[in-house]
Amino acid sequence: MAPSPRDRLGTVVRYLGPKLVQFAFVIWATYTVTFLLIHFLPGDPVLAALSLKGGDATTTDPAELAALRAQYGLDGSLWQQYIGHFLSALRGDLGVSIATGQPVADMVARALPNTAAVAVLALVLGVVTAVVITFLAFVSPWRWLRQTLLQIPPLGVATPAFLSGLVLVSVFSFGLGWFPSSGSRNPLGVVLPAITLALPVGAIFFQVFSAAVLEAMAGPYVFTAVAKGLSTRTIFLRHVLRNSLLPSVTILGLLIGYLAGGTAVVETVFSRDGIGRITVDAVLARDTNVIQGVVIVVALVYSVVNLLVDLSYGVIDPRTRPALGGRRTGTGRAGSPQADSPQAGATSVDAARDKAVIES
């Protein structure tokens, strides 16, 4: 009996509903915690902003400061500022930066593409390298080679980005002159920052991915495939890869969220504009509007990415899809995938094996 459209709709809502509520809650909670943190920090935002421009000529005359405070709207009650700012943020108006006088939305829009360019390239480089090294470890006939290959990527996390960035600049920029050392004017300027970021990002992805691959490798369906005579490459691409995607996609989502926050260290070493740097500058300048604007945007990106990751589980692994129109199977597991996946994967593998045995 086919499920009625109403049942289908019901299932989808039951599936998506909690996730959308979670999405909204994360954004609201981030905003509130940031607001509380900023406003209970010591220091006067107006003086901090003035001292950016004024240097040692900054006025400290109380009358002038009070006038400026009123001018920037920093004199309402805490509750008024909280609600007012949240409502305008919902409308899309992120306010004006006290330090630079620019609309916050403009500043974020200007910095985001720079961060995105480096982040995307870093992700691509990191993921591709991780997959390649994992494949080589997978196909290597000698155990010692496999163990060695598995130990290389963790170096990427061990080396601080500050050090690797400066070394890369010294060697490839000043030494060989292949890449510019700074700035975003030259399109090649993306490469060295991306490599610096790809080291820790690729290493973290590699840890999760290779663990998932090695686990999938030990699965009985691989034994069956080998027995059937498939080549190692086909086994890797067709069977192992797809089964190790669940945890990898999860960690990818987390990494995208991390990169969306910008990495101030890489941006400083390579003198690039980006989300990380404007955040650091805003915190030092007590520029509340910029801090809140950046936090909301980053939380938004992070939540959207995680929502997509959640939804992608259904696409990747049919076993996690809720049966439309009736029994709920596997919806609970998608909520905390990273912790549960290896075990979930194992039980699904067993179930799949049983199914394969029965159906063959």
């Binding site: 901090a48 900054t58 700035g183």
Partner: protein
């Protein structure tokens, strides 16, 4: 007949020939030119605001100087004020009215002409900006109005005598912008202004770079410069490189032609034939400990005198300063007009310092710190930069039994502390070209003074010098002020901060103006 003619012609020919040779040589001397058309000048921080009238950040002022011109110019070596956009000027006797006559044919980069009305618009807009343009508002303290007599003559009137104003008109802080810029909002002005300078703003990408391009038809350079007419290069790029290592590495590899702020530690590395170093001490009050004498221990004269005699300025300079710098020897730096050395009163003498403290009843405790009536001799200094200088002072004062606590804060918190008065000492410099900086810092009547002192004689001298037009009379008052400040230990100078920049050896024409900021009008790159 044939005898006298050769003699006569020899007597005439020689000088004529000499004159002709000189003339030929003069005509043959090649005009200044640059082999490369773009100069890359790496700066150390984001200028944040590109409007030279609003900002006090040295980086922003270094860039702004190339884009705006000023009414007057000041000779960096002699301190003499010379005409620039104003071909003549006069002041009245009590420094409340300044009349300027502008030169002809000056235009801004939007092709509007420079008239007295535009200058009036500049000053009125600045006065309206108020404390958003902090440094300019100090130069314009007491500003009443500007009266335009005709297209090229104007008079600026003040309600109280303003000693800094004329010197201020030579800085880029009172540099002139076009009328369209005076009408724009402060935030828009920070993105770009229209000036009459040899360069024009081309682009500003925050945290990335600033680019300025040559102004065609520029022909009103100051007489203090090396050439006339347009700039010698067509573009100057200022990439923003905050990492010291990347900046110096880029200079070494040739990626950058000039870099701003060479760290002192790298000075020796670039002191070779392949590079040129540019060093000039900041003008104004040197980096010092500025006291709040209303605080309990700081109010003790003996403590302040002991601190003054117990700091070894030579050692501070060796450890933290530029090799070419001089240790401070007065309340003003040695490059400021009106500086008079107080070296005798400030000479490093730790034994004398200890004797002063012993006589005042501060007894050395077992932990090496003195105490009196159960109160330890512990004072704090609040600062937002130059931590290495303060750490050196802390080490030196420990030797005579004084405990100096360091309180490093952000810039905003530093001014918050000044506003609330919650400090023993402040650790900072005040960079100004005019000796009126002493009044800004010490006069309790000044709006944003940093030192809290109670000395009627000093107050009187500072107020008087601000009203004195006669240069010699004023100079003697400024000398008196320095003596009073050092004799009462109202200031403990530590370091004369030096602007230290570096370039590749084939760069020429980089000079400092009287405020130790950079002028790039003559910059050129040889083969």
């Amino acid at each position: 007949m044939s005898r006298s003619t050769p003699t006569f012609s020899r007597w005439v020919a020689a000088p004529v020939a000499a004159l002709a040779t000189v003339g030929l040589l003069a005509a043959c001397s090649t005009p200044l030119a640059s082999a490369k058309d773009t100069v890359i000048f790496a700066i150390k921080e984001d200028p944040t605001c590109l409007d030279p009238q609003q900002t006090s950040l040295t980086t922003a002022l270094n860039i702004g100087r190339q884009v705006v011109d000023s009414l007057t110019d000041q000779n960096a070596d002699t301190g003499e004020i010379v005409p620039w956009l104003a071909e003549s000027y006069e002041t009245n006797d009590d420094l409340t009215a300044f009349t300027f006559t502008l030169r002809d044919n000056v235009t801004f980069s939007d092709e509007t002409p420079l008239t007295a009305g535009v200058v009036k618009a500049n000053f009125d807009a600045l006065a309206a900006l108020g404390s958003a343009a902090s440094l300019a508002s100090q130069y314009l303290a007491g500003y009443e109005n500007t009266v335009v007599t005709d297209d090229t003559t104007l008079t600026v009137n003040f309600s109280t005598p303003n000693a800094q104003f004329l010197q201020g008109t030579s800085t880029m802080t009172l540099g002139l912008v076009a009328e369209a810029s005076t009408a724009a909002t402060a935030e828009d002005r920070c993105q770009s202004v229209i000036g009459s300078g040899p360069f024009v703003y081309d682009s500003y990408v925050p945290n990335d770079s600033v680019v300025i391009v040559k102004r065609d038809g520029y022909d009103w350079a100051s007489t203090l410069r090396e050439h006339t007419g347009e700039a010698l290069v067509s573009t100057i790029e200022f990439p923003i490189i905050t990492e010291n290592g990347v900046r110096t590495g880029g200079l070494e590899s040739g990626e950058f032609d000039i870099i701003q702020d060479l760290p002192y530690a790298d000075e020796a590395r670039f002191d070779t034939d392949d590079f040129t170093l540019y060093a000039k001490a900041n003008t104004g009050v040197p980096n010092s400990l500025i006291p709040n004498t209303s605080r309990p221990i700081v109010s003790d004269d003996a403590v302040r005198h002991a601190m003054l005699l117990g700091t070894d300025r030579e050692e501070i300079k060796t450890l933290t300063g530029a090799a070419t710098a001089e240790p401070p020897t007065s309340a003003l730096t040695s490059s400021t007009t009106g500086y008079v050395s107080q070296a005798d009163a400030m000479e490093y003498d730790p034994e004398a310092a200890e004797k002063l403290l012993d006589d005042a009843g501060w007894v050395l405790g077992s932990d090496g710190i003195r105490a009196k009536d159960g109160v330890k001799l512990s004072v704090s200094v609040t600062a937002f930069y130059a931590q290495d200088v303060l750490e050196t002072v802390q080490m030196q004062l420990k030797k005579i039994g004084i405990d100096l606590q360091l309180n490093m804060v952000t810039a905003g918190d530093f001014f918050g502390v000044i506003a609330s008065g919650d400090y023993d000492f402040l650790g900072a410099a005040l960079t100004r070209t005019d000796p009126d900086a002493l009044r800004v810092l010490f006069s309790q009547a000044a709006s944003s003074h940093w030192a809290i002192v109670d000395n009627a004689e000093l107050e009187g001298v500072l107020t008087e010098q601000a009203k004195t037009a006669d240069p010699d009379a004023r100079a003697s008052l400024v000398e008196q002020a320095q003596e009073l400040i050092i004799d009462n230990a109202y200031l403990i100078p530590t370091l004369e901060t030096t602007q230290l920049h570096a370039s590749v050896a084939n760069v020429g024409g980089v000079t400092f103006d009287s405020a130790s900021r950079i002028v790039l009008y003559d910059v050129r790159i040889a083969e």
